[in-house]
C-alpha cells in the first residue's frame, strides 16, 4: 500500500459514505413518503397496503383548500414584509464604508445562531396580556386596558418575519453590493432623480436578490409550525400544523404524506421559476 497510489480505493473511501448516506437517509425516506401517500389509512391509525389516491382527492376538500390558502397568504405576507424591512436595511449596510459592513452583517447573523425557540419565547414574554409591552403602556397611561397581542394571527406573522428576516437581508445585501456604481453615476449625470434612479436602475438590477430573498422567506415559512403554535396559540391552522397533526395526533399518515408532497411540488415550482431568473448560487 505504501508508496504506490491506488486511485480506485480512495474514490470509494471518499465518496462512498456520502453516497450511502444520501441514499439511505434522503432518497429512501422520500420514496417512503411517496409510497405512503398512495396507501390507505386504517381505522386504528396504521396503514393498509392498499393502493388508493384517496389522500390526494381529499386535498381538494374545502377545509384543506382553506388552510392552504391561509398558509400561502401568511407566507406571502411574511415574504413581502421581510422584503420591505430587509431591502432598505441591506441598502444602508451596502452603502457603508467597507470596513464597517463586516460587523453590521455579523450582528444580523448573530441572533440566527441562537435557537429560534428561545428567541420566540422572548417575544411571548413581551407580548403577553400581563407582558412587558402591556405593562409599559399601562404604566405610561397610553392604554387603559391591556392589548391582546399574543395568540393572534398578527403575532404569528410577527414571529415569522422575525425568524426569517436575516434570510432576506443576506441575498439582498449580496446583490446590492454587486451594483456597478458607474451605472448609478451615469443615471445621475443624465439627470435622473433619486427616485427614478432607484426604480429604473437600482431595483431592476437587484432583482436576483429580491427573488432569492422572497424564496428564502416564503418556502421556510410554510413549514414553521412551532411559530404559529407559540405566537398564535395554535388556534389558527396552517399547512405546517396540518401536516404535523397527521403524523402525531390525527394519525393519518397517507394524508400527511400527500400534503408533504404537495409542499415539495410548490417548492420545486418556485425553485424552477427562480432558476429562470437567477442563479442558484445567489441563494447563499
Amino acid at each position: 500500500m505504501k508508496g504506490k497510489s491506488r486511485p480506485d480505493l480512495p474514490l470509494y473511501v471518499m465518496l462512498g459514505p456520502t453516497f450511502l448516506w444520501l441514499l439511505i437517509f434522503v432518497m429512501i425516506p422520500l420514496f417512503n413518503v411517496i409510497e405512503i401517500s398512495f396507501l390507505t389509512k386504517n381505522p386504528s391509525g396504521g396503514i393498509d397496503f392498499r393502493f388508493s389516491v384517496e389522500s390526494y382527492a381529499s386535498l381538494f376538500k374545502r377545509d384543506f383548500m382553506l388552510i392552504m390558502y391561509r398558509s400561502f397568504a401568511l407566507s406571502l405576507q411574511t415574504a413581502v414584509l421581510c422584503l420591505l424591512i430587509g431591502y432598505p436595511f441591506a441598502y444602508v449596510i451596502a452603502n457603508m464604508p467597507r470596513d464597517y459592513r463586516k460587523y453590521f452583517l455579523l450582528f444580523i447573523m448573530l441572533p440566527f445562531w441562537i435557537n429560534s425557540v428561545i428567541r420566540i419565547y422572548g417575544w411571548t414574554t413581551l407580548l403577553r396580556m400581563e407582558g412587558v409591552i402591556n405593562t409599559l403602556l399601562l404604566t405610561l397611561g397610553i392604554i387603559s386596558k391591556p392589548l391582546e397581542m399574543l395568540y393572534t394571527d398578527g403575532a404569528t406573522l410577527l414571529g415569522m418575519v422575525y425568524e426569517l428576516l436575516p434570510f432576506a437581508v443576506l441575498p439582498l445585501y449580496a446583490s446590492i453590493e454587486k451594483l456597478d456604481v458607474s451605472l448609478l453615476e451615469a443615471a445621475r449625470d443624465l439627470g435622473a432623480t433619486k427616485a427614478r434612479t432607484f426604480l429604473r436602475v437600482i431595483f431592476p438590477l437587484t432583482m436576483p436578490g429580491v427573488f432569492a430573498a422572497s424564496l428564502q422567506t416564503f418556502i421556510p415559512s410554510l413549514g414553521l409550525f412551532y411559530i404559529s403554535e407559540m405566537m398564535g396559540g395554535g388556534s389558527t391552522m396552517y399547512i405546517g400544523n396540518l401536516i404535523k397533526n397527521q403524523f402525531l395526533s390525527a394519525r393519518n399518515w397517507p394524508l400527511g404524506a400527500a400534503l408533504s408532497l404537495f409542499l415539495i411540488l410548490i417548492t420545486l415550482i418556485l425553485l424552477k421559476l427562480y432558476t429562470k431568473v437567477g442563479k442558484l448560487e445567489d441563494m447563499a
Binding site: 500500500m1 505504501k2 497510489s5 491506488r6 480505493l9 480512495p10 474514490l11 471518499m14 465518496l15 459514505p17 456520502t18 453516497f19 448516506w21 444520501l22 437517509f25 434522503v26 425516506p29 422520500l30 417512503n32 413518503v33 436595511f89 444602508v92 449596510i93 457603508m96 464604508p97 467597507r98 453590521f104 455579523l106 444580523i108 448573530l110 441572533p111 440566527f112 445562531w113 441562537i114 435557537n115 425557540v117 428561545i118 428567541r119 420566540i120 419565547y121 422572548g122 414574554t125 413581551l126 403577553r128 422575525y162 456604481v181 453615476e185 421556510p220 413549514g223 414553521l224 409550525f225 412551532y226 407559540m230 403524523f247 399518515w253 408533504s260 408532497l261 409542499l263 417548492t267 425553485l271
Partner: protein, 278 residues
C-alpha cells in the same frame, strides 16, 4: 486601488442620520426578545410574566431541574456527535468531488442540494416515516442520524467552494516525494482546506443547535432537546431557570462563533501571507 472608486467611497461615507436610525430600529427588533430572555433570568418571581426583583438564584437552581439539564445534555451530545460525523463525511466528499471524475459525480453533487432545498417539515416527516419503517425507535441515535443528514451537505458544499481555487500540483509533489494517499491527505490537503473545514463545521454545529422542526419528528420521549423542552413548556408557563440556562447558551453560542470567526480570518490571513511570499 482605482482612484475613481476611492473618490466614490468618500462620497458614500456620509452617514445619513435617518438611515442609521432605521438600521438601529432593525437591530432593536432583532435583539429585543434576546435581551428580554436574559433580563428575566434575573427575575425573583417564579411566574415569568412581570419583573419583580433582581436575583441570581436561578443560575444555581437550574441544576435541580433534572429534565431541563437532561435536555441540555442531549442538545450538546447530538450537536457534538453530528458535527464530527458531518465534518468527516462532508470533507471526504468535497475532496473526492474535487479529485475525481466519475459517472455519478453530477448525481452526487446535485443530491447534496436536496436536503437543503426541500422544506424542513417534509424532511422531518420523511425521516420519521423511514425510521418507523425499519423499526428504529426514535431517540438520541435517530436525532444524530437526522442532524448529520441536514448538516453534512453544508459541510461538503462549504469545503468544496474552498478547494475550488487550490493548486493541485502541491498534492502531486507530496506524492512524488513518497507520501502515500493518507499521508498526503493529512499533511498537505487537510491543512490547505482547514479554513473551509472550520467554516463548514461551525455551520453544522449551528444548524444542529438551531434545529427545531426536524428534531421534533425524530426525537423520542427520553431524548428531548432543549428547544423542544421549551416548546413543550411555553403554553403552560416557563420558569426562570429555563431563562438562566438559555442565557448561558446565548452567551456560549456568541462566544464560540466569535472565536471561530477570528480563528478563520487568522487562518485566511496566514495563507494570504504565504501566498504573497511565493
Amino acid at each position: 486601488m482605482n482612484p475613481e472608486i476611492s473618490i466614490h467611497n468618500k462620497k458614500k461615507i456620509e452617514f445619513h442620520p435617518l438611515s442609521m436610525l432605521y438600521a438601529c430600529l432593525v437591530y432593536l427588533f432583532l435583539y429585543l426578545p434576546i435581551v428580554i430572555v436574559i433580563v428575566f433570568s434575573f427575575n425573583t418571581s417564579k411566574v415569568n410574566i412581570k419583573f419583580q426583583g433582581f436575583t441570581t438564584d436561578w443560575y444555581f437552581r437550574m441544576f435541580d431541574n433534572s429534565r431541563l439539564m437532561e435536555s441540555f445534555y442531549n442538545t450538546l451530545l447530538v450537536a457534538g456527535a453530528s458535527t464530527v460525523i458531518s465534518i468527516v463525511i462532508g470533507t471526504l466528499c468535497a475532496v473526492g468531488l474535487y479529485r475525481f471524475e466519475f459517472k455519478l459525480k453530477s448525481l452526487i453533487t446535485n443530491s447534496l442540494y436536496i436536503p437543503i432545498a426541500i422544506p424542513e417539515i417534509v424532511f422531518g416527516i420523511a425521516l420519521l416515516v423511514f425510521f418507523s419503517s425499519i423499526h428504529l425507535k426514535t431517540g438520541l441515535l435517530t436525532l444524530i442520524l437526522s442532524h448529520v443528514t441536514f448538516s453534512m451537505p453544508f459541510v461538503a458544499i462549504t469545503v468544496r467552494s474552498r478547494i475550488a481555487g487550490f493548486d493541485r500540483s502541491i498534492e502531486e509533489a507530496a506524492r512524488d516525494l513518497g507520501a502515500n494517499e493518507f499521508r498526503t491527505f493529512m499533511r498537505v490537503t487537510l491543512p490547505l482546506i482547514m479554513p473551509g473545514v472550520i467554516a463548514g463545521g461551525m455551520l453544522a454545529l449551528t444548524l444542529s443547535l438551531d434545529d427545531v422542526v426536524i428534531s421534533f419528528f425524530t426525537s423520542g420521549p427520553g431524548s428531548t432537546t432543549m428547544p423542544l423542552y421549551i416548546l413543550g413548556l411555553v403554553k403552560k408557563g416557563v420558569s426562570p431557570d429555563v431563562n438562566a440556562l438559555s442565557t448561558l447558551v446565548i452567551l456560549g453560542t456568541i462566544g464560540i462563533m466569535v472565536i471561530a470567526q477570528v480563528a478563520q480570518s487568522r487562518l485566511e490571513q496566514n495563507e494570504g501571507g504565504n501566498n504573497s511570499e511565493n
